[in-house]
């Protein structure tokens, strides 16, 4: 068990602390507890998992205190395997060609790699979706191959295109929307990953596994022009 303690977070919040590190193991436990919290009626407003914490918010101090008692009593029942049900395995097409890969060359130079090596390393591993945050539908994926680990840009960009694939430190991500960004942009995916029309809302959910697959510009345009709906994307690119 990585779970350390429950602390108050202001007067109407709680923070569950799983230690100061981040690892897939810790995250799996975070997500297992998260799943457990979904199953009980805590009357919470929000539950926000991240790498090593879960923050909960409530309407009142009274409800916060009531929930704290219930959470303490269920934490003994955490089941890691149970939390893996309903998790999806994604095979996500991404185009790494120059017009989408604003910082791929910088990464090649930093690490002495060829274009093909960068693509091979990024597509060669399946990533764990630690959590969704920063902006609606934004997945923190990791960990990337150690030879691709790159710091954030010294000066963040004011704007990057929607659906951009980025890497920073040991994580990789996909931007659901146009955004300012300090991540190194190395490619783009050909469909939206956030939808107000679908009940899932975010294509990726915490605990999902994501592997990228390199596609040509032509294939990128072909998929993009289909304007796939979430159900079609799920059917075609996940299992």
């Amino acid at each position: 068990m990585f779970f350390k303690r429950i602390n108050h977070y202001g007067d109407v919040g709680l923070i569950l602390d799983f230690g100061s590190d981040s690892s897939q193991q810790i995250s799996q436990e975070v997500n297992a507890v998260y799943v457990l919290l979904q199953d009980i009626d805590l009357r919470q407003l929000n539950v926000i998992p991240s790498f090593n914490k879960i923050v909960l918010s409530f309407q009142s101090i009274k409800e916060r205190n009531r929930a704290q008692d219930s959470i303490e009593s269920i934490l003994t029942k955490v089941n890691l395997t149970n939390s893996q049900k309903d998790r999806k395995l994604w095979n996500i097409p991404a185009c790494y060609e120059d017009i989408y890969a604003l910082d791929r060359e910088l990464i090649q130079i930093t690490h002495g790699l060829t274009k093909e090596e960068v693509i091979l390393k990024h597509t060669g591993k399946s990533y764990y979706a630690y959590y969704i945050g920063f902006m609606p539908g934004f997945p923190y994926l990791g960990d990337i191959d150690s030879s691709l680990i790159t710091p954030r840009l010294a000066t963040p960009r004011i704007q990057i295109p929607a659906r951009s694939v980025g890497i920073a430190r040991k994580h990789t991500c996909i931007y659901p929307k146009i955004s300012p960004s300090g991540w190194n942009i190395i490619g783009q995916v050909p469909f939206d990953i956030f939808s107000l029309e679908h009940s899932r809302t975010s294509l990726f959910l915490p605990g999902d596994t994501v592997q990228f697959q390199s596609i040509t510009e032509k294939e990128f345009f072909q998929i993009q022009s289909k304007r796939l709906l979430f159900d079609e994307i799920i059917k075609e690119f996940s299992k």
Binding site: Y9, S20, N46, V47, I48, V55, F134, M135, P136, T201
Partner: protein, 288 residues
């Protein structure tokens, strides 16, 4: 059909409710009204508000009834006028019901010694919820209307007003409270006793770089002896985070879902509404 139109936006006119909950784990901000006290008082004047309010900052809007009639109430410290269709002008008090008929135009002037004002509408604004809420998050472009309102925006309310009787409620006292008792933040230990002493003893000024996402403060810099960079974790309105420059930010309603700066302290829930009403230039102090 009752229809009115925005003929002047004022500043930062948005549709809001009490907040969008149960989506923050997907990266969606809670948003909602900056000051919950005012709309709470307005619900007594307009009980059938459908949780669809307009919020403005500093300068109020003008709304003109194009067809039919509507009943509204305005909350906040501001002057309210109605230009009647026969060209007479009538002043109204906040927290009273105002009946607007075809051709009437409601104009709300500046908020006085405060920031936010609200309008409640009998039968609401005829909107559909987005992710179970009417709130607007302009940064993420999520909402029944996913942007600030513009001149020409029209609202249609199919239901007619059931009673034109005058209703009113007590005025909300927008206190001038500038000292806030705060709770320890999860990274309070990132700051030495000396820095914490500075935090509670020196004033911080609310800067003009403040909006629905956060109030940026300026004062004696609060430097961490550990780091200004933490593993991102969930944040809530009221969290006081300290980025590398040492100038604290009080997070408000349109927060990102997680933040990577250490949080020195957290405001009490009810103080978020109070601090929201303090205009830039106000000096505030904290008590741990």
């Amino acid at each position: 059909m009752n229809r009115f139109q925005v003929t002047r936006t004022g500043t930062y006119l948005t549709v809001q409710d009490w907040g969008r909950f149960h989506y923050q784990h997907l990266g969606v901000s809670p948003s909602g009204m900056m000051d919950h006290r005012i709309p709470q008082a307005l619900t007594k004047v307009i009980p059938n508000h459908q949780n669809q309010f307009l919020e403005f900052a500093y300068v109020g809007p003008s709304l003109k009834v194009e067809q039919g009639a509507i009943k509204v109430s305005v909350g906040g410290q501001c002057n309210i006028f109605v230009q009647k269709h026969n060209n007479t002008q009538i002043e109204h008090a906040p927290y009273t019901s105002i009946n607007l008929f075809e051709g009437d135009e409601l104009t709300i002037h500046n908020t006085i010694d405060s920031v936010y004002g609200y309008i409640a509408f009998e039968n609401g604004l005829g909107l559909e919820p987005c992710l179970q809420s009417f709130a607007t998050d302009t940064k993420a472009q999520i909402g029944s209307i996913n942007r600030p309102l513009q001149i020409g925006d029209q609202f249609e309310v199919s239901k007619d007003v059931s009673s034109w009787d005058l209703q009113s409620s007590e005025e909300v006292n927008i206190s001038k409270q500038t000292n806030f008792k705060v709770y320890p933040g999860p990274q309070m230990n990132y700051f030495s006793d000396e820095v914490l002493q500075t935090f509670v003893s020196s004033p911080f000024t609310i800067t003009t770089q403040s909006d629905r996402m956060g109030l940026r403060l300026e004062g004696e810099p609060l430097k961490s002896h550990i780091s200004h960079d933490i593993l991102s974790e969930g944040i809530l309105p009221g969290c006081i985070q300290v980025p590398t420059n040492g100038q604290p930010i009080v997070l408000m309603r349109d927060i990102p879902c997680t933040g990577g700066y250490p949080k020195i302290a957290i405001l009490a829930r009810d103080d978020i509404s109070k601090i929201a009403q303090l205009p830039p230039g106000t000096k505030i102090t904290f008590d741990l």
